[in-house]
Symmetry: C2
Subunit: 316 residues, 2 copies
C-alpha cells in the first residue's frame, strides 16, 4: 500500500504527509514527489521523497505502481502564475493530471485519485446561491485548467479507470511562509505579515467577501476524501465547506486577537489584476452536500488566527 | 478572407459549405478539411478541399494562415464511438481543438472560432430547468471532451487569443445517409428509414423526450455564430434552441405526414448502452438567452419531416 502526494514539497503536501503519518490510514510507503526535491516531513521509514518532472509524459508511469492505493494530486501552478505564463499553466495543471490518470488506468483502476480543485472554477455572473449544480464559468486560466481536470477525473472514474474524488478547495488561510503567485496570496499575507511585525498590502476592497478554510480543516477533508465511499457519489466533484468573511471582518478579527498596532500594518493598495481574478470567485457557497458527505467546516475566523499563531509557536 | 470548416466531409460540413456559398458572408476561399478527402460541395472556385489529419500537432499550423477569418470546428468522434474507443475520442475531440486554438493564437487573434458542442455535456441528475447556468456533468466521454473544449475556447477568447463562440447543438434530425456511431443515430433512423421503405430499430422508450433541431436551423445558427457580435458575450457558450418531442410524438408526426404502413416499419428493441447515454441528456432546455442573441428555433416536428422529404426529392 503506497500513498503518493504530488506537489509534496508544497505547504499542503508537507502538512498532509505529517497528518497521514498520524492518521488511521495504513500504508507501507508515503511518496512525496515534486519538481524540486521535497523536504522530508518526518523521521519515518515509510517516507520516500522524489524529485520528478511530471510534465514529462513518461514520469507518471515510473511513479505509479501496482502498490499505489491513493494519490493526492496537489501539484499545480497557482492562479496569477498561470495567468502570466499561459503555457506552463496548461502543461502542469492539465497535462500532468491527464498523464497521472492515464498511468493509473494502465496500472490499477482501484487507485483513489484525490484531485485538489478550487472555487476558482467559478466566475463571472454567478447566481445568488452557488452550489454543486452551478455551471463553472472560470475567469482565469487556472480556474479553466482545474475545471477541465475535474471533468477528466470524473470521466476516468465513470469508465472505471480510477476511483476519483475531486475537492474544490476554498481559499486557504493562513498559509505559512512567504507570499506566492496565487491571486489569493494576500488573504494569508494580511494576517501573517502583521503578526510577524511586517507590513502587508491588501489589493482588494475591505468589503470583498472571501470563502475560506483553515489549513487544518482542508487537510482533514483531503484525508476524508481518501477513504470516502464513492459508490453513492454520482458525480465526483465536491465543493468543500468554508466560511464567508469579508476582508474587513478578517481584520476586525485580527484586531480582536492581537492589537491595533498589528492591523495598522495592513495597507490598502488596489491591484486590478488580482482584483479581477479574486472578485470573480464566489464569496459564499451552499455546501450542504459536502457536509452530508462528512466533510468538515471551520467555526469562526478568530480560530484561523489562533491556529496560525499556535503553529508559529510550535515551529519557533 | 478564408473560411475553414473542419469535419468538412461530414453531413453538417458539406451542408454548411453550400449555405455559406449562398450567404451574405464574403470570403475568397472556403477550405473544407477532413481526415478523408471531402467531396467538393459545389462548382465554385472559392472552394478548396483538403485531406489532413489534424491529430498531427503540426497540421493545424499548416491549415490556419494570416488570411483565415472564420473557422467552423465541426470535426468530432461521435458519442458511442468515443465511448467505445476512449483514446481516439480524446485525440480528436480534445487534442485537435487545442491544436487549432494554439495555431490561431500564433496566427491571428481575430479569427472567429465557432466550436460545435452538444447537449451531451449535460447528464446525471439534472434540475427541472436546464439552461446556460446549469453545471455540466456529462455521462459520456464525448460529452466530457466537448465540455472541456468549451472551456478551452472560452479561456482562449478571454485571453484575446481567438474570438470564439461555442454552440451546444441539440440532437439533429433528420440526418441523411446511413446510421452512424452516434448514440442518437436512431433519432434520424426512425424517420429516415421508414420513409425509404426500410425497417428501423428504436432502442429507447417511446416516452423518452428529445431536444431536437432540424439541419436547416442548425446551419443557419452556425452562420449566425460566425457574425455574432461577441463584445457583449461574457461567456462564449450558448445552448442552441430546439424543440422537445418524445419518440412517440415523432412517430405520431411521421404517421400524420406519411401513413400507417410507414410507422409500422419501426420496431422497439431496447439497447442499454444507447439508452444510458441518450437518457442522460436533457429532454428540454431553457434557451431564452440564445433566442435573445438571435439564434433560431424550429416550429413543429412535422416540419422536420417535410424538410427531409423535400431534400430527398431534390437529391433524387
Amino acid at each position: 500500500m503506497q500513498i503518493i502526494i504530488t506537489g509534496g514539497g508544497g505547504f499542503l503536501g508537507q502538512r498532509l504527509a505529517k497528518a497521514l503519518l498520524n492518521s488511521t490510514i495504513s500504508f507501507d510507503e508515503l511518496t512525496l514527489v515534486d519538481i524540486v526535491m521535497p523536504t522530508n516531513p518526518g523521521m519515518d521509514s515509510r517516507i520516500h521523497c522524489k524529485q520528478l518532472d511530471l510534465s514529462e509524459q513518461a514520469a507518471a508511469k515510473t511513479l505509479i505502481t501496482a502498490q499505489t492505493s491513493i494519490i493526492f494530486h496537489l501539484a499545480a501552478i497557482v492562479s496569477s502564475h498561470a495567468e502570466k505564463d499561459f503555457d506552463i499553466g496548461w502543461k502542469v495543471n492539465l497535462d500532468i493530471t491527464r498523464y497521472l490518470l492515464e498511468a493509473c488506468r494502465y496500472t490499477n483502476p482501484h487507485i483513489r485519485f484525490v484531485f485538489s480543485s478550487s472555487l476558482a472554477v467559478y466566475g463571472g455572473e454567478l447566481p445568488a446561491i452557488v452550489n454543486d449544480a452551478t455551471a463553472v464559468t472560470p475567469r482565469s486560466s487556472y480556474g479553466t485548467q482545474k475545471a477541465m481536470g475535474e471533468l477528466l477525473v470524473n470521466d476516468y472514474s465513470r469508465k472505471g479507470f480510477v476511483d476519483g474524488v475531486v475537492l474544490r478547495l476554498p481559499t486557504i488561510c493562513v498559509r505559512p511562509g512567504r507570499p506566492n503567485l496565487a491571486a489569493s496570496s494576500f488573504v494569508s499575507s494580511i494576517i501573517r505579515e502583521p503578526i510577524k511585525g511586517e507590513a502587508a498590502i491588501c489589493p482588494v476592497s475591505p468589503d470583498l467577501p472571501l470563502f475560506l478554510s483553515s489549513p487544518e480543516t482542508v487537510i482533514q477533508n483531503l484525508i476524508h476524501a481518501a477513504t470516502l465511499k464513492t459508490e453513492s457519489l454520482s458525480w465526483r466533484t465536491v465543493n468543500l465547506p468554508g466560511i464567508t468573511v469579508t476582508v474587513k471582518q478578517m481584520l476586525d478579527s485580527l484586531k480582536r486577537v492581537t492589537d491595533e498596532a498589528t492591523i495598522a500594518r495592513v495597507q490598502f493598495k488596489a491591484d486590478e489584476g488580482v482584483n479581477k481574478i479574486v472578485s470573480s470567485w464566489p464569496g459564499a457557497l451552499d455546501t450542504k452536500r459536502a457536509l452530508e458527505l462528512g466533510f468538515r467546516v471551520d467555526s469562526s475566523f478568530d480560530n484561523f488566527i489562533h491556529q496560525h499563531m499556535a503553529e508559529n509557536k510550535q515551529s519557533a
